[in-house]
Symmetry: C2
Subunit: 195 residues, 2 copies
DNA sequence: CAATTGACCGGATTGTAATTATGGTCATTT
DNA sequence: AAATGACCATAATTACAATCCGGTCAATTG
């Protein structure tokens, strides 16, 4: 029971901050606004978070957690590595397009390049990459992937590749989810050289 | 003999513009400055180019030509497709880092996001991608690559992937040219699935 | 007395009006 | 006929006052 009043306050603040960052982005969220939404005095926020960046960091940390657990839920140990990978990456793309905070931060980066917003998105991508890296390591152990691969680089590549196909390429050449997954899986698993 | 005075003027202007765009970027290059460097009156530029964008377009077109011929020279028909591809992409990365105009435009995009600079770089990348696509088509015909690949998408992917490894990943994990080429070739030719 | 608050501070940001710089034109010159 | 640069309208920059906001802390509360 380490909870009671202080934890309640902390929660109120985190929830208020989450809403505000999602609605207005990093820059347009003021500490005063957060305090109003949370129904606490501005000074109270500083009892729990040293700076606005800290508060934002906590929100990002929670979102990264959500992201990881979402990815976790997409994994079906009955399926092979590539099927799981495509499913996870697809889900992450959807999340990116649907989750208000991610949408807002991406927009803010495009429009005004807020460094903290970049930082936040980078942390989220890092979380995803870390998750994939872990899966790659498992797949190597299980013998599904060659043990010559560098898990970190491979995870990095997989994420880049999926985003490149699923977002950038799809802009000019619409592809269905299946087409993306097929192309992606095929390229990664066996390459393009003639057999 | 369609050359004489007019062509000479045109050349003077193009050379001056090339220098100015490379030294000051798109935005900070003024038509007056170009005319001064070229040693002609400002109005004369408009005899040959309708707008500043046109003039810039011509400079980019020439650079794209240089880029293509550089790529062409890297191709050795004795070597296999992947060796040539890695050589070409490596050379293009060097070019990107060394050619003043490309460096300046990239910096301008980072710093102030000049749309015309973005446009110029995009055209250059398009030229590169087109070149690779052509090589992919040849390789498919020669039976070096599977004929199930989509040449345009494959060229797009190859460029993305090489830049991702050679620029982004190398920032945090320095790799030699050979390591990049090896990883890249290996991944593209045969994938990462256990054999 | 520990927790909470909001008035307050100084530096950053923004609105805006005046000034300057620049792309493009065209009457004049060569 | 080709070339030029003064000129124009608008875009970009500057200067600066007004406003905003992150963070502090003395006063207040329960």
């Amino acid at each position: 029971m380490e909870s009671k009043k202080p934890v309640d306050r902390r929660m109120q603040i985190i929830e208020a901050a989450g809403k505000s960052f999602a609605m207005f982005g990093y820059k347009a969220t003021t500490m005063e606004l957060v305090s109003k939404i949370a129904g606490v005095g501005k000074g109270t926020i500083y009892t729990f978070f040293a700076t606005k960046e800290d508060l934002f960091g906590e929100i990002i940390r929670q979102l990264a957690g959500e992201l990881r657990s979402l990815a976790e839920r997409m994994i079906d140990r009955e399926r092979n590595f590539f099927a799981n990978l495509a499913a996870v990456l697809h889900e992450l793309l959807l999340f990116r397009e649907k989750h208000e905070l991610m949408v807002k931060l991406s927009q803010e980066i495009r429009d005004i390049g807020t460094p903290m917003a970049k930082d936040g998105i980078a942390k989220l991508e890092q979380a995803i990459q870390g998750f994939i890296q872990h899966e790659v390591e498992l797949a190597v152990k299980k013998g599904e992937l060659r043990d010559s691969v560098d898990p970190a680089l491979t995870a990095f590549i997989m994420l880049k590749l999926y985003v490149a196909i699923g977002v950038e390429w799809s802009k000019s050449h619409p592809l269905t989810r299946e087409e993306i997954a097929d192309y992606f899986t095929n390229l990664l698993s066996s390459g393009v050289a003639a057999r």
